[in-house]
Amino acid sequence: MSSVNAAPDFKKTLLSALSLRGATGPLIGLILLCLFLTIATDSFFSIRNFLNILDQITVLGIMAVGMTFVILIGGIDLAVGSVLALSMMVLGYLNVTAGMPMWGAIPLALLAAAMNGAIAGVLITEFKVPAFIATLAMMSIARGLANMITNGSQIIGFPPWFNLGAIIRYGGFLTMTVAVMLVVFVIATLFLRYRSGGRALYAVGGNPEVARLAGVNVKRTTILVYTACSALAGLAGILLAARLDSVQPSSGVAYELDAIAAVVIGGTSLSGGTGGVGGTIIGVLIIGVLRNGLNLLSVSPFVQAVVIGLVIVLAVAAETFKERSK
């Protein structure tokens, strides 16, 4: 008799609730990394350093959430780094140059960012341009536009409270920017796990034709996902502007690769249909902790590049080792 598996145990339920299945390898990797750094450096294991790390991953973390959606439906978005820059420049232009108050400038900057994703989505669904190419083109276009706003120069002169939001640790703990990131994490996790719209992303990523026949509007879903991903990149741009208290069109170059790496390290499959935000958070933390640790260890920048490459490979290959040893 081909018996069927035993009752799902508690551990499984917990991991699954945090949508960490498929990301236990990276989770172990993250813990090992932290242990190593705690032993190897004096300064790693401290509240202040952890808060620094949280600060440092804000931008990547928010972009990686959007990227998780895109990769879940089997797509990819190479434009997020440029979209981040565009959103920053629109914000700077509207607020500083044109004198529009923040409550008007921020939504418009987000809108400008979201538009990029909507266009990419339409190119992908209606014109059958592969996501890689559509977003590669948008990457070039958004970067060009971001540069054209000020002819390549930076903008400074935001209202003082804007930068303070990224600096003051409310309750000695959370800056406004980190709080925004945590809110994004929570909403995205709940959405993907518990909303039928979220589940539909898995169906679309698993097999778009099956999803369509099951009544999912695959085109609309795809366009919305790219729009959301771009809007999140725009949000990341606004937080980055707050952090730097200035905006410049050369921000965010190659951030898309970090975001994709974080998502995949976190166990979301590039072929779509499996993964989740829980894993992505671990992926983001691995990258953030690694960068922080390498700096604390004063590793030469060139060696850092090699180490980061090795860790990315190890983190992803770890799943395979785990599978094999079973």
Binding site: Q56, N151, G152, S153, L244, S251, N295, P301
Partner: protein, 288 residues
């Protein structure tokens, strides 16, 4: 207080200019027994802010800050101020958030000298092109300003084309120059705003078989550029050698001085030195 550990934030170590400053700082600090921690932002401002946070975590006593990207972020300076340590800016300083001193290579006068040199060499007349660095950056803007002054002084010189590179790199210089020579075959003077651009352009000139007609000027005094000038076998004949090692030494000395409560000038501006085939050899020996 006493300066035992210096944090050095560099925008991009792949640029020889920054690499030389780093070597200057490390060499001099090494002699004084001061530890130096270097972080490389790979041209990304946000990365640099994170790196500066990590420098603070490591308890540095002074901070040498070379801002990354087109914008100079103010946040690193604020972080250092919050930690109560000296901030020495090199190359650039953030608007509205000056450090204790800023040390930067003079751009306008030196660029004027380079362009003046190549224009004179060409007989004070002819068609000229400029290959700019990354658009919008301070050196790009100032080197153009200086060079433009030399052009304006020579009515016989006509600026027929300008193009911007993204990364100041030789392959960009090559490609841009090749296309410029295509569009304007009678060009005789080329100014590349960095040595990489100029050397790439010189190769394009050779490729087009125009090495007898065209001369190229550069800027920075990179190691490889100086070596090439020593040989003097290409159209690339002049550059402005920045006193990078001196800047490094100056930065360390300023850090120590500020640490002890001494006052330093708000601006320290070592000149770049016009370098031709004739005097390149001594700079290869010892970079200023």
């Amino acid at each position: 207080g006493e300066v035992k550990k210096i944090g050095l934030a560099v925008p991009n170590l792949q640029a020889d200019f920054f690499n030389q400053i780093k070597l200057g700082v490390e060499g001099y600090a090494g002699k004084l027994g001061i530890e130096v921690i270097v972080v490389d932002a790979k041209n990304d401002t946000a990365t640099q802010v994170s790196q500066v946070q990590d420098l603070m975590t490591q308890g540095i006593d002074a901070f040498i800050y070379i801002p990354a990207g087109a914008a100079a972020a103010a946040v690193p300076t604020r972080l250092a101020r919050a930690a109560g340590i000296p901030v020495i800016n090199v190359d650039r300083e953030p608007d509205g958030e000056p450090g204790d001193t800023v040390i930067y290579g003079e751009n306008i006068v030196s660029a004027y000298q380079v362009c003046d040199h190549i224009i004179k060499k060409a007989g004070g007349k002819g068609k000229m092109v400029i290959i700019h660095g990354q658009k919008g950056t301070t050196p790009e803007v100032q080197r153009f300003e200086g060079c433009k002054r030399a052009i304006d002084e020579n009515p016989g010189v006509e600026l027929v084309a300008q193009q911007w590179s993204q990364q100041w790199s030789p392959d960009e210089g090559f490609q841009i120059a090749q296309n410029m020579l295509q569009a304007n075959p009678d060009v005789t003077i080329i100014f590349g705003q960095a040595d990489g651009l100029a050397m790439g352009a010189a190769k394009a000139v050779q490729g087009a078989g125009l090495e007898d007609k065209v001369i190229v000027g550069g800027y920075d005094g990179d190691g490889a550029a100086l070596e090439s000038l020593v040989k003097c076998d290409t159209p690339f004949i002049v550059t402005a050698t920045q006193s990078t090692q001196a800047m490094g030494v100056l930065a360390v000395n300023s850090a120590i001085a500020v640490g002890h409560g001494a006052s330093v000038p708000a601006r320290q501006i070592p000149n770049a030195v016009l370098t031709t085939c004739a005097d390149a050899a001594k700079f290869v020996e010892k970079h200023p």
